[in-house]
Symmetry: C2
Subunit: 419 residues, 2 copies
């Protein structure tokens, strides 16, 4: 079996090198020799740690009838979509690690692929075989929820903030120096990377077709030392969580920071590691843990997909369903989310302010579970509180009303609690 | 696709009921309707919570050409081996949850099955799709180690002992009352159940053919309150761990209690839950967590296998290898295990005893890392110590020498440390 790699960066080089370094055991497992024969790069003059032929001519690879599998590692959305379409038209199997491509085009790709193998294990949670688990291991279950820590950058930063009391700006700078965060970190810290992965899992669990712009995505940029203190006080961790949940015939898909009790197994996923907890109606909770990024870890998943294709061609349906299951599942409106909330209000420290806040919350049927008030200086105080289960729209309305009432000096901050 | 279930106890009933309750989503995922048509039981007069036809005539099911898949849930070794052989001869696919059957006959069954699907996800770690992960998700890797908590009974007991200071006899009695432990608990607490599962994983990781009697199996029966104190003092958990490791061209396969640092992810697997940590040379550590037992959780894995067969027939090679990978791997002799050790010695409390113990250890090249001496009564004391990395044979010889020297009042206890 011959493999062409389009995009030979860190992951692409690892794919070629794993196929070379672990050739004996891969051959024994796959039942045939898998050879990476060529890689496509933009810049041929750049030094790369690979021993395969390189070209800057994509067409040469796509038109080569001897190549059985195309590994797409270009990044981006529309350009790789065109390349992958061409590969499928040529009858070549495709393996990709490109979550953005799948976040936007997975259903079109499923149609285009038909009986041609199209695999993408590395697109979600890097080296953790979570696609495999969800698409094959848990198929007997109605999936009740998926909760994932799927962005290592955010988890590294939040772990440092919680464990060492480092503030957001300091840890962001450190993460950039360590190469964990990009110069423009928005894609990671804003929750978009995790959202792409969530959409893919949402399809396999629920067959739901949604795009990033359809779902609630919030990042970790507003988390402040007071929130960390609150978490430590009440034995919570703060995690950027991707959440997919089935509530009746509605599916929640959302990405945002949460307070989560330290007793939950997924709260124990620290640093750059990823973890995904899945609750099925029959199996209960299973969790999958491992490295979500890195050249070799990601390439491990890419190569596993190539081996799958060598063994069995198209094995399971690309997005987990052979046919529609008839249940008419709809994406839940953001307004209808029901959860517990934490609110941080910077208030003017004068008589009647707390009463005013409490009244506004009460008017919206929001009841308070825990509260801490801390003076900030002579004129201001922080009110930190958590609510019992409330409706998102009520919380949003209450926060607007609190702002309009002129009792807060800054925009209120809200973080959901995943209890 | 029609399914016959041989053995309709808790798991068998769950298999039939899941196929009925989740029929819509299973049909959508599998691409065909999967119907459990008949179950074989010994005692037809016993009430069972299933809506399928029951018979006590195995032959009727094996000879029924309309049945595509046989689910074997009889328990035992030789009887199910005969039944499964017959099913394969009739060209029926087989799904089993029977770890003992596989511990003894997996290679014969692989040969007998040939191109007929033979699946067994539920045989290891119940509802956790660990076979799937190891056989498909991690195939790009040389597996460096597998460390599993795969017996919920032991893990429940050890968790209670560590967290609540309950002693072995008390917690065993409680576990029996709760139904977590059998009247004769030896199979669980002696490590044999976990060993069966380890042998299966050892085959998929390393292609190594070993039987229970070939490997080191120790149970948790000798763990005493002093050991728990030592664990708590030095921030260890105590777990019954299954260990498979590759050291050069030798494979270690062993099951025994260990001290393991609380910083390790797998040490956080508590109560009846199971967890398996796998380290691959490329991906690094991934971990799989979930329920290792229970009717629905185990049946979830059985049904996933049936769906796999409906989708793709024989997908991956039964034991993970299409062909021998040439590397001549041998089971490591127990004598050559190298690890750290904890020793508990009940000594006569008189001048020179500690020197005598230290001398014997030194003569065997065993160096001490940590030590606590605690008086027990007027004449006796406990010496609790941990060693630096040592060789198993040296430890065993040293313990014999210590016994022969007459300085201990009881047989010394040794627990390995997994650091």
């Amino acid at each position: 079996m011959k493999v062409g790699i389009i995009g030979v960066g860190t992951v692409g080089a690892s794919v070629a090198n794993i196929l070379r370094d672990n050739k004996d055991i891969i051959t024994a497992r796959a039942g045939c020799v898998i050879t990476p024969v060529i890689g496509v790069v933009n810049n041929l003059s750049k030094d790369r740690d690979v021993s395969i032929e390189l070209t800057d001519d994509i067409e040469k690879v796509l038109n080569d009838d001897s190549i059985d599998v195309i590994v797409e590692l270009m990044g981006g959305v529309e350009k790789p979509f065109e390349v992958v379409k061409r590969a499928l038209e040529e009858g070549k199997a495709v393996v990709t690690a490109n979550k953005a491509l799948l976040a936007y085009h997975r259903y079109e790709l499923q149609d285009l692929a038909g009986e041609t193998p199209f695999e993408y294990e590395a697109a979600v949670a890097g080296g953790i075989p979570i696609i495999n688990a969800l698409r094959e291991g848990l198929t007997a279950n109605h999936i009740q929820s998926i909760r994932g820590i799927m962005n290592g950058t955010c988890n590294y930063m939040l772990t440092k903030m919680i464990n060492e009391g480092v503030d957001y700006e300091t840890i962001l700078k450190e993460s950039q120096e360590l190469g964990y965060a990009e110069a423009d970190p928005t894609f990671d810290v804003g929750g978009f990377d995790a959202a792409h992965k969530l959409l893919i899992l949402g399809s396999i669990a629920y067959g739901i077709d949604a795009k990033p712009e359809d779902i609630l995505i919030e990042g970790i940029q507003d988390i402040a030392p007071e929130d960390i203190d609150f978490a430590n006080e009440f034995d919570y961790s703060i995690k950027l969580l991707t959440i997919a949940k089935k509530i009746g015939s509605e599916i929640e898909l959302r990405v945002h920071p949460v307070f989560i009790p330290n007793s939950e197994m997924i709260s124990k996923v620290e640093g750059v590691m990823n973890g995904v907890s899945v609750i099925g109606d029959k199996v209960g909770e299973t969790m999958y843990y491992g490295p979500g990024a890195g050249g070799d870890a990601t390439a491990s998943a890419v190569v596993a997909n190539i081996i799958d294709i060598a063994r069995r061609g198209k094995g399971s349906p690309m997005l987990g369903f052979e046919s529609s299951h008839g249940e008419d599942l709809k994406l839940m409106s953001k307004d209808n989310i029901r959860t517990k909330y934490y609110l941080r209000l910077r208030v003017v420290d004068k008589v009647g302010v707390l009463a005013r806040v409490a009244t506004i919350l009460g008017d919206k049927n929001i009841s308070i579970e825990k509260m801490i008030q801390k003076p900030l200086n002579k004129t201001c105080a922080h009110i930190l509180l958590s609510t019992h289960t409330s409706i998102e729209k009520d919380i949003v309305d209450a926060l607007s009303a609190i702002e309009e009432a002129g009792v807060v000096t800054d925009k209120p901050v809200m973080i959901r609690i995943e209890d």
